[in-house]
Symmetry: C2
Subunit: 452 residues, 2 copies
């Protein structure tokens, strides 16, 4: 009987997160404040607890995972890794294909890996209330559940168009006790200003971030929490890659190429960085491939420049690949990848050619997702379909060339709340959208000026 | 660190199913044909393959699980068992609470445990096409996926009201290649007759079964597949209880009481029967509690009599607890429990007082489900909420009495496609419905006459 599932025992939940900063030759570029000057970490204390800030700026290679976090990680970790025998057969490829499945978490994606420690550290710091934003709802769900687990109230600013289009993600957050508001609201200055200009404004992730940050900054009892982009979020996600390495060890294999969807970068960083650690320690070089939508091609077509994390310019500026913070992402169905930039760490590693990036069009990602579901059973989230597309493309290239590579991708979540997108795929209602080069060129002019 | 999750290695997937028939003192009552006389098993060959019929009537204690079935079981089996530390704390009970989680299957529930072997046996028998019915969609999803895995075309007659109200379950089946029709259709005599009388008929599970059976009986290339009630379906589900016993062994514990939702009976039989095997072999007696909705109280209030499995009277009659095959179940949200009867095996064991049954009202089941989700993370299917309710009730009784029992329930599936029901619970739109005794009494007159 062929082995399909590779399971680690509960005792193998990682005890430390891996911090890639320790293995980079060049130190990360400092974040810049609103004055365009390097920012002192303490300036972030209006919206983040001190223990979170400490982690955000740490250069320590291994950071211990607190026991209460590991205890809750047990609910779904270690996550299974699978050898995709049936997909390999369907493709007729000489490659071996493996995937790690993060959709087994109660919230349905890898996002819970960071929501749990963020809630924990805030609780330890005496914080009982968090604000955040959510688009598709994966992050808002995860933080709602994490807040419930640690007795922290969570208010989620959910992009209004998603609030109305994805009522079941909203119900999920409410089931876990999260308070969900349709953003823009009239509870913040940002929201009121936008609604005064346009009472029917349907919201955007940028606006929702601005509202959540504004509220956290204005209340002493409240901090802000972000589900990707920042160093500490990517750090928390490294449990994925650390477990995967042990699982490869169990079956005596090691990947040649790793694929992960890349929006803010926490999914990609989580699975890829621990393999980079092997290379940095003199081990085998694995090709690490960030896969982004061709409609939001920040790494593959964006500018490497200082930019804000939100539309309103309330966050610090980081050195990143960006399409411009005023970029309006087209309405693709991979809501988690509709972001103008990439995390500073992923951007730096891409700039230093330590990792690769490709972009794929929307319809082809759903085609790959359906092929995967029919072979392997699991229906993937639209974000995950990006990694599957790139992996299948490589497997088919190898079929031509006769190479027998070991390919690995992160199946970051299930698509149970995204069936409307699959419906649109089946009924030919999906569109491909290539973000035009002229728009990207024009954005360069509007990037903030920095004295670096 | 407290151990929460109890995982078996892949090598511990059961190699045999357990057939409770071998351990019953009295042989099962024979099914009756349309003439009201005991039926020869071969009479079922119009709708079932011979290898399925053989399993249906087997009295062999252990039946080997074919390797191709175990290979696919690997995708999600062994399923995790959890110690519900957080729920225990929330309840303040002296009891230990464990649950087995079947929602990790790609189809989201225990139903896949039987869909895979049913597809396999049909394939072996040379069948390339199956019909079935589905209400809430759990079974239709499972058989669509199983059909895809073995290259069998699957046509699902989906109750029209569900087809329209639960479009995402429909999309899920389509993603796996299932053909989904809104029943009643104009493709069968049953459907045409019903539509001629009432063109707006919204369908029922009974009608959908009749259409699926009628089509299978009329086509040589097609057989019928059922997701509960029958002996072979309950047999396949025993992998749940068999794994659970090993998991209890791992932590050196054993349950005093087991709770499972009970509609047709496959969920209950699957988790309970293997524990009954211990009692039959002279081991400890576990209280096995079937939990049904107070709106469909077949075991707790129904008649023990011969009745049909469907509304139209196309199936054989079995000796069962029934509310009458013309029972119209109220529109509760646990679609999987809206059935007029119970499986012959579960009925016989209840009649012989080997198992127990309780009924619980709808609103209280959602209250239990939300309490569970906030403590343990996972959002349960409405069916599973019935088991949780009964388990919590017992844990609270023990809190009063000071008894420290070991309680165990089967969390048969997740509620990702049932959030509309949770929404209705949160907005006080759910109702409780006690099925009236007068209706139950009246049904006795309409039961089919049998010469037994």
């Amino acid at each position: 009987m062929k082995q399909t599932k590779i399971l680690l025992p509960e005792t193998e939940i990682p005890k430390h997160w891996y911090n890639v900063v320790a293995d980079l030759k060049n130190p990360p570029a400092p974040p810049m404040g609103p004055d365009g000057m390097p920012m002192d970490p303490s300036a972030m204390s209006a919206i983040f607890a001190d223990n979170i800030i400490e982690q955000e700026v740490s250069a320590q290679r291994w950071i211990e995972i607190p026991e209460p976090v590991r205890e809750i990680y047990q609910q779904w970790r270690p996550t299974p890794m699978f050898r995709a025998h049936r997909l390999e057969e369907a493709l007729g490829t000489p490659c071996k294909i493996y995937y790690k499945y993060e959709g087994v978490s109660a919230a349905g994606s890898h996002k819970l890996n960071s929501a749990i420690p963020q809630a924990y550290y805030n609780k330890v710091a005496g914080i009982n209330r968090l604000t955040t934003e959510t688009g598709a709802g994966q992050w808002g769900s995860s933080l709602s559940l994490a807040g419930q687990m640690f007795g922290i109230d969570v208010r989620v600013y959910m992009v209004k168009v998603s609030y109305n289009q994805k009522p079941f993600r909203r119900s999920m957050m409410q089931t876990w006790g999260g308070e969900v508001l349709a953003s823009p609201t009239n509870l913040t200055e940002t929201g009121r200003r936008i609604l005064a200009e346009d009472p029917d404004n349907q919201g955007s992730l940028g606006i929702a971030i601005s509202e959540a940050v504004e509220e956290a900054a204005s209340r002493a009892d409240t901090k802000y929490s972000l589900g990707s982009v920042l160093n500490h979020v990517l750090l928390h996600q490294t449990v994925i890659g650390l477990e995967a390495k042990k699982q490869f060890e169990m079956v005596g294999d090691y990947p040649d190429m790793i694929f992960a969807p890349c929006g803010g970068g926490s999914n990609f960083g989580g699975v890829a960085f621990p393999f980079y650690a092997d290379e940095a320690a003199g081990g085998k070089k694995v090709r690490l491939v960030a896969v982004e939508p061709s409609s939001c091609p920040s790494l593959t077509k964006g500018h490497y420049a200082y930019d804000f994390g939100d539309t309103e310019g309330l966050t610090p500026m980081t050195l990143q690949y960006t399409l411009g913070h005023d970029f309006m992402p087209p309405g693709i169905h991979a809501g988690g990848l509709r972001y103008h930039g990439a995390s500073a760490l992923v951007s730096q590693m891409y700039h230093e050619k330590l990792i690769e990036a490709v972009s794929v069009p929307q319809i082809a990602t759903f085609e790959a997702g359906v092929q995967f579901a029919r072979a392997e059973g699991i229906i993937p989230a639209p974000e995950s379909n990006h990694a599957i597309r790139a992996c299948i493309d490589e497997a088919l290239r190898c079929k031509e060339s006769g190479e027998a590579k070991t390919l690995f991708f992160n199946l970051s979540g299930h698509g149970h709340f995204d069936m409307v997108s699959y419906d649109k795929y089946f009924t030919q209602q999906l569109e491909d959208y290539e973000y035009p080069q002229s728009e990207i060129d024009a954005a360069l002019e509007r990037l903030p000026k920095v004295k670096a």
